[in-house]
Symmetry: C2
Subunit: 140 residues, 2 copies
Amino acid sequence: MRKFNDSLPLRLLKAREAAMAFFRPLLQEIPLTEQQWRVIRALNEFEELESKQLAELCCILSPSLTGIINRLEQQGYIKRRKSSEDQRRILISLTEKAKDMFARMSPLLEERYQEMTERFSSRDMKKLEELLNKLCDVKP
Amino acid sequence: MRKFNDSLPLRLLKAREAAMAFFRPLLQEIPLTEQQWRVIRALNEFEELESKQLAELCCILSPSLTGIINRLEQQGYIKRRKSSEDQRRILISLTEKAKDMFARMSPLLEERYQEMTERFSSRDMKKLEELLNKLCDVKP
DNA sequence: TTCATTTTATTAATATGTTAATGAATGTCT
DNA sequence: AGACATTCATTAACATATTAATAAAATGAA
């Protein structure tokens, strides 16, 4: 069998840890978890989203998202309203507080992203992204 | 700022999910979690490991590993003993039951790995692994 | 040797991941 | 309209992730 360290899932996990190491310190200062930031980032781009869309975009399962949304609401970062057509659906959007925080944080995080890209090599980063996208399309 | 879906950490997360989709169904039949299998796989290769080494190898933090080890012991898959030189250290190894199970499962998982590699392209897989390894070495 | 420091595993507290089950709202079909 | 299935969000139950704190053992310097 393949050696333990040659496992692709393990490599993907380690690579992700290495990448997140650039951003975690900044998020911890606020403080926000990685998942909370992912949700806020998605909402900043798409304005208002249904819970289900948000879960799909952020790669977070619905039950986890329920908790994350609750905590973000407690912290005053998001607001929710019910859809008028379909009473099951919840529509979620950022508060002003969240938008301000995002505007303050995103340049700092972008800076780190550049730093990571440079240290890794801009060309390799592009190639890596291509391959990851391709891998996402491979299904059993 | 970069579009939401262009984030490298998110891509790594999605790619990992795509890869794990090949293996999850098999593990669920036993049943074993992904982390439990990672621990068993490491122990199969290294015979006996200290808790700390195991955590390092499997990319699992010590507090999580404590629970995983406890549950695996409950299920009869691992045994633990104290180091004679250093009374703090715990040495962990597989039981016969675990070795048998591993011998039965690993060919099936290896089959899936081949299937994944073929669908993805063997050359691209190699390139991807290279890039992931390189990314792991990039530090803030 | 003694005291302070460091290392190791664990516990505590909280957040998230994962699958199954639930309840409410909607859709479908007759 | 009424019975049935489907969809969506949530809850439940358990496993893992994460940071801080702790207790015990080992180490190192005075």
